[in-house]
């Protein structure tokens, strides 16, 4: 289903996304509807469409590094070639470097696909985190399917550029907060500086839909003497909202119902904030009852208790390595969570939910791996890298385009100065669509947000 959506979605951005869309086929931009759950605008285009254009990049050969390809492959002393925004080749030392490629010596270094954070609030809760910037929760109704996170994203959030330079983040999903049962649409971004959010929007990425179970919605609304004030209230409000959406005939436009319809039609992917195992099991049943699919549970600290159910339902768990205890529903969080989920054959994604944690997703993945090893669950390094690359891309519906170093995919690439699963390693160079956007050796290859100009530490290492 996602694949079909993808080829449709590439269309609107065909002129921008030559590489990625070429592999899935392109069509006339005017002939196909955008599969966003939203009608085209009066101009015939999907509303708020991506205007992202890749920046120029030289044909580049990374030679001699250890490569984790993101899809579970590992090559020592390998070569990665990219040009015109696309991965052109990946192989061992025997892979010839064509003429015209600039060689980057990767000896002793590591290469991964660009790191992807499936759960971020950068831009909608930006730095500085002053009240005037608090744009992540439309906490005025328990269900706000009508809001779109992209309308809150401040592209000048300096957090994007810390994530690029320190975390190697090349794509990320910005979600509404979790005050509401239905928080609204997410937006997937390329981690590229832009004057507008449209200039960051990941071309062809499907929308996500943020839902939340448990304590937050019932606390926020119960505290105001309205529904939901209990977990059973959470489910009642959700189910009634789905029933109303199913009855929507589309004759009179309704922003919220358009989004819900998009979910029911499989065009919009559900990302459900949910901590407790028993609640996740109930949500999966609600989804079956109403005819939608949960793509991923986020913050799923208790997924390890139901790895079998998650595998059977093909639902990913987007988790921290070891956060726990900060709220009642996080009390049973354990560092072995990711490894135990993986061990049951279910899908693991490591997420941040933090402007700081997003700078260290590689370290979080390594911690989760080590916790598993201590429990006797050995997970190879190249598998662990998948948790922060291809698995995230899959759950965001962009794995046809990024998330692994495969021929024809976007040249979203990180060169690390050491093993990314070590605390001692940092990104040395980061390319997005083949454009070098961070270079530790070049102080000018470092984005500086408008907000930071003329401030103490402008352009400093951060």
């Amino acid at each position: 289903m996602i694949r079909t959506i993808r080829s449709a979605l590439c269309i609107g951005a065909a002129s921008l996304m030559l590489g990625a869309c070429a592999s899935t086929g392109t069509a006339d931009p005017d002939s196909a509807p955008a599969a966003t759950g939203t009608p085209l605008g009066d101009d015939g285009a999907a509303p708020f469409g991506s205007t992202y254009n890749r920046y120029p990049g030289a044909p580049t050969a990374l030679v001699g590094a250890t490569i984790y390809d993101g899809a579970g492959g590992e090559i020592r002393g390998g070569t990665v070639l990219f040009a015109d925004g696309e991965i052109v080749g990946i192989g061992d030392a025997s892979l010839a470097v064509p003429d015209g490629y600039s060689r980057v010596d990767g000896s002793g270094k590591f290469v991964t696909p660009g790191i992807i954070d499936i759960h971020s609030h950068l831009g909608d809760y930006p730095s500085p985190s002053v009240q005037a910037h608090s744009d992540g929760n439309e906490a005025t109704s328990p269900t706000t399917p009508e809001v779109w996170a992209e309308h809150s994203v401040w592209p000048q959030d300096p957090g994007f550029w810390r994530a690029l330079a320190n975390g190697g983040i090349t794509a990320l999903q910005i979600l509404p907060g979790s005050a509401n049962l239905m928080g609204g649409r997410s937006v997937t971004l390329k981690n590229v500086p832009s004057r507008t959010v449209q200039g960051m929007k990941f071309p062809g990425a499907p929308y996500g839909f943020k839902m939340a179970c448990g304590e937050n919605p019932k606390r926020v609304y119960g505290g105001r003497g309205r529904a939901p004030s209990t977990r059973m209230g959470n489910f009642a409000v959700n189910r009634q909202t789905w029933l109303d959406a199913k009855a929507y005939d589309g004759k009179k436009r309704d922003l919220g119902k358009e989004t819900l319809k998009g979910v029911l039609d499989g065009e919009i992917l559900v990302h459900n904030h949910c901590y407790r195992a028993d609640e996740m099991a109930l949500v999966m049943d609600m989804a079956k009852e109403m005819g939608y699919r949960v793509t991923a549970f986020h913050h799923a600290v208790e997924s390890y208790k139901i790895g079998d159910l998650l595998r059977e339902n093909d639902v990913c768990s987007a988790v921290w390595a070891d956060w726990y205890g900060f709220k009642m529903e996080a009390y049973d969080g354990i560092p072995e969570n990711a490894a135990l989920i993986h061990n049951q054959g279910a899908c693991v994604v490591i997420h941040s939910d933090s402007a700081n944690g997003i700078q260290r997703l590689n370290q979080e993945a390594a911690k989760a791996q080590a916790a598993g090893r201590r429990l006797g669950i050995d997970i190879a390094d190249h598998e662990v890298i998948k948790w922060i690359t291809l698995n995230a891309a899959k759950a965001m519906g962009i794995d046809d385009q990024t998330g692994s170093l495969e021929r024809g995919k976007m040249a979203d690439v990180v060169l690390w100065n050491g093993d990314p699963l070590s605390v001692y390693s940092r990104p040395e160079k980061v390319w997005v669509d083949g454009a070098l956007l961070y270079d530790a050796n070049d102080p000018k290859r470092r984005p500086v947000s408008d907000f930071e100009l003329g401030q103490p530490g402008e352009g400093d290492v951060k």
Binding site: S127, S129, Y304, G325, E336, Q369, L421, R426
Partner: protein, 457 residues
């Protein structure tokens, strides 16, 4: 492999886990002494009578002292976490379980965390399993700019967590203080100055000599006397005082410099203003906490001889007082001669301390960044915070005579893949199990073919 060697050795020796001091030695280990020096390979440590008897290379194990082969293992002093809320809460958002704040308290400086600390808290156990053997515990300023008096604890599995009560006072200046003082930094400074003047006057009038927290030379088990400042006295006070009598009494040792004052402050200008307070109150024993822009005034901080408990990896302009935040802050301050410990309250959990220290080592390989050497980074989570906390010489190190807080790791302790395999406090081996380890064991598989998981324990 590493663990097996050690575990095998331990099994052979048949060490029982009992709450008693045992003499022991570990040989062939990589030793990090915590004093800022680089790790030493092939080293031996001997622990006797609850203290480090000797540590280094070329040592022989005394007769009668059981020895473990530490091949592949690392041995370090226990980590010292400052500042924390360990033992003050169970679930953060469950307010009835959380004693880390008291927004509606009528008291401020007089608050004293020591009677509230629960040594059986899961967070104490989890921190202990992460290699933390000592911690500074404080309540954060909430009803006032003053947070109250923090304690030094050990994380041992016993009924007596307090190493020293009332070891330091906490005050928030900068944005946090401004909010609690009525809305501005101006008000916070007026409130602070008034409080210290009232305390000074009250101390004189009521003849409080005011040594709230003189560090005991050695732990006697009886270093928690009644706080004499809080006994009844008949001293008359003027009509225009703002502080309650208890709060004034609690600030006497601050103003006379016998109790450390931890000042939460971030902006360079605010740091300068704090350092200048000593013009008016020369005895203040200042410690800066946070100090995101410390690098901009590192020379001033160093010249003032004021140590810093710094937010290690803050690099975002999270507020207008942190515009200059950078991960190179700690490295730059250390280069300028400032004594810097890593702030455990500036991370998700205290057990992240080694990871954050490791990240500062990583900066050494980033062009233009200021990192720390491995030894410096480890000292910033062991001996330096111990010194800042007023612990006796040698605390947080493995020098001969130091307390027997020893952690044995299955690899480089600053590496995210490493973990403690043994933790000793005062020479006593500690249990490393907790709610989390029990859950992981229960859910190692999901087999319920015979009985529900509830019977698997």
């Amino acid at each position: 492999m590493i663990r097996h060697t050690l575990m095998a050795a331990i099994a052979t020796l048949g060490f029982a886990t009992s709450a008693a001091t045992q003499d022991f030695a570990i040989t062939n280990a990589t030793l990090a002494t915590g004093d800022g020096s680089d790790p030493i390979e092939g080293a031996t440590i001997v622990v006797r009578n609850g203290r480090v008897a000797d540590a280094g290379t070329g040592l022989s194990v005394p007769a009668g002292v059981p020895a473990m082969d530490g091949t592949g293992a690392w041995v370090t002093p226990g980590l010292f976490a400052t500042v924390t809320d360990l033992g003050l809460w169970d679930v953060g958002a469950v307010s009835e379980s959380n004693d880390s704040r008291a927004d509606d308290s009528p008291f401020s400086a007089a608050l004293d965390v020591s009677p509230a600390i629960n040594p059986q808290s899961q967070h104490v156990k989890i921190s202990r399993a992460g290699g933390i053997t000592r911690a500074a515990v404080a309540t954060m300023p909430s009803s006032s700019i003053f947070g109250g008096q923090g304690a030094i604890i050990d994380t041992g599995d016993d009924a007596d967590p307090i190493v020293r009560a009332r070891a330091f006072q906490v005050v928030a200046l900068g944005e946090g203080g401004a909010r609690r003082a009525g809305g501005s930094r101006v008000s916070a400074h007026a409130l602070f100055r008034n409080a210290l003047r009232e305390a000074r006057q009250y101390g004189t009038d009521s003849r409080i000599t005011g040594t709230a927290s003189r560090p005991p030379e050695q732990r006697s088990g009886d270093d928690l006397p009644l706080d004499l400042r809080l006994v009844d006295n008949q001293t008359q006070r003027g009509d225009d005082v703002l502080l309650s009598r208890f709060d004034a009494a609690a600030l006497v040792p601050v103003v006379n410099g016998s109790q450390k004052l931890y000042v939460m402050v971030e902006r360079a200008a605010d740091i300068r203003a704090v350092l200048a307070l000593r013009d008016e109150f020369p005895q203040l024993d200042l410690v800066l906490v946070g100090a995101s822009e410390g690098w901009l005034v590192a020379g001033d901080i160093a010249a003032a001889g004021v140590p810093v408990i710094a937010d290690a990896l803050d690099d975002l302009p999270g507020s207008f007082e942190e515009l200059g935040a950078t991960q190179s802050n700690v490295g730059r301050m250390v280069r300028a001669g400032v004594k810097v410990a890593l702030n455990a309250s500036a991370m998700e959990q205290p057990r992240y301390l080694p990871q954050f220290a490791g990240n500062l080592v990583a900066l050494s390989n980033v062009p233009g960044a200021a990192g720390l050497s491995w030894g410096q980074a480890f000292a910033a989570i062991s001996s330096v915070p111990a010194q800042i906390s007023g612990m006796s010489a040698g605390a947080g190190t493995l020098t001969a005579g130091a307390m027997g807080d020893i952690v044995v790791w299955d690899g480089d302790p600053l590496e995210v893949s490493s973990t403690p395999v043994k933790v000793y406090i005062d020479g006593i081996e500690q249990p490393l199990t907790n709610h989390q380890t029990r859950l992981a064991q229960r859910y190692r598989d999901l087999d319920e073919s015979d009985l529900p998981k509830a019977y698997d324990w």
